[in-house]
Symmetry: C2
Subunit: 265 residues, 2 copies
């Protein structure tokens, strides 16, 4: 079964590395800020600092686009803004639909930096009939029934899913069937899509959990410990820790201890 693949395996010899693509928007934002302050040129060092990356990485990234700098000087801000915009496809504009106009969907609809760079909210779609017609961010909400129609009429190829998790796959399927080939998913579900459709996910609770992991590690370091597994001590200090399914007495396979204490304070 095809689990929602996100990127094709970097075919095409002259492809820009995925990691680089992911940073181009960052550079673009920094450059736009410079442009607004009428700064004419910028060095890799300065721009890298503004974008929060190191300068070698930035230079290598730009080298995939071409030789757009001037040695001994730096990069022409306007020129680079144009080149990156073009590379990202922001010189055309992309109609986008947002499906699921709850708290989050409304927040997205109101998000300014949205329309600013190449993206246009073509429609807001919600399953709740009571929402239909109500304007959010100046755009009237339309009912899910009209989804296919809207996608078709507006030539939408990018969809944003901000529905509850339970509805996400179904909405996704309809979007894809109607012709959408790129999806930004805010629902906490794994979406399954056919080949050729890109999915990116944004997931609050995943991000928080990653932070918690590092946070916990820091706390451990302070007291001279490595992590949750580093504390050796009397067994079963942890609350309701499930026993191993069929554990023999000598069965201790975890990297350090099986059932570590999770310090309450």
């Amino acid at each position: 079964m095809a689990t929602g693949r996100t990127h094709r395996p970097a075919t095409r010899s002259r492809g820009i590395p995925e990691a680089t693509v992911a940073r181009l928007p960052l550079y673009l934002r920094a450059l736009t800020a410079l442009s607004e302050r009428s700064v004419p040129t910028v060095s890799s060092e300065e721009l890298a600092a503004a974008a929060g990356v190191n300068s070698a990485k930035l230079r290598k990234d730009f080298s995939y686009l071409g030789s757009y700098g001037t040695r001994g000087v730096g990069y022409d801000v306007e020129y680079l803004v144009y080149q990156i915009s073009r590379e990202l496809g922001l010189t055309q504009d992309w109609p986008v639909v947002i499906v699921g106009i709850g708290n989050l969907g409304a927040a997205l609809a109101n998000y300014g930096g949205f329309a600013s760079r190449g993206f246009r909210v073509a429609a807001l779609i919600d399953a709740d009939p009571a929402m239909a017609g109500k304007p959010v961010a100046g755009i009237p909400v339309q009912h899910t029934d009209e989804l296919e129609q809207i996608i078709g009429d507006n030539g939408v190829s990018i969809g944003v899913i901000a529905t509850p998790a339970g509805a996400a796959q179904q909405v996704c399927d309809r979007l894809v069937a109607a012709g959408v080939t790129s999806i930004l998913n805010f629902a906490p579900t794994v979406l399954t899509v056919p080949d050729g459709v890109d999915v990116r996910k944004v997931d609050l609770s995943i991000e928080l959990q990653i932070l918690a992991f590092h946070e916990q590690r820091k706390a451990g370091e302070e007291t001279g410990q490595v992590g949750p597994e580093a504390m050796e001590g009397p067994e079963d200090t942890a609350p309701a820790s499930p026993a191993r399914p069929t554990a023999t007495a000598t069965d201790r396979k975890g990297p350090d201890g099986d059932v570590p204490a999770v310090m309450p304070a």
Copy 2:
């Protein structure tokens, strides 16, 4: 100048790879779903499908945690839920503050899967005095003036920034000074933080731009082209394309063409 570093350089020999950490929440979610359906065990193949990754990767990921499976059978669901929760630090709960209660902040406050797994919204903070006292998601909003007090009293170590971009760095500095060491940033800015503070960012427009890049590439492939730079044609078809800063006549350094046509239709 220290640009906001996010991870320490993978010190500590028995560290779990960052990429693995980032997937643990995914596994956890899939396992939780299985647990709710009272599924007792699961194979790497099944679980991988549910989490949207391949099974070899999943097995390797789990191998960093320890040998928690049973050969010929699979993994005990409950046991694995516990082990991953523990590894992620979700067996303790983390008080979190959300700063900036606009559309997005409200959406985050209302987000359910939040409280469910180890995270507790300790406070909502906003700079607008008119918001003070108003309850959002059942929690009264407090004014920014009280930020330090709130952090201290509640022992908050994780902060979520959902303010406008302009306020983000300032809020960040105050959070960090008050003792927060992990930040989830929704504002479209690069945050600079001292060493030892983790920042993760969630950025809608970056995600959209990445999708646009791939989308454009797809469109190019359909018509037998690679990307924006592949179209050879009469110069200056593109609107307002800035000329190269100090270009000599033979100056053509881009990978294919300097000023490509961006097809309007």
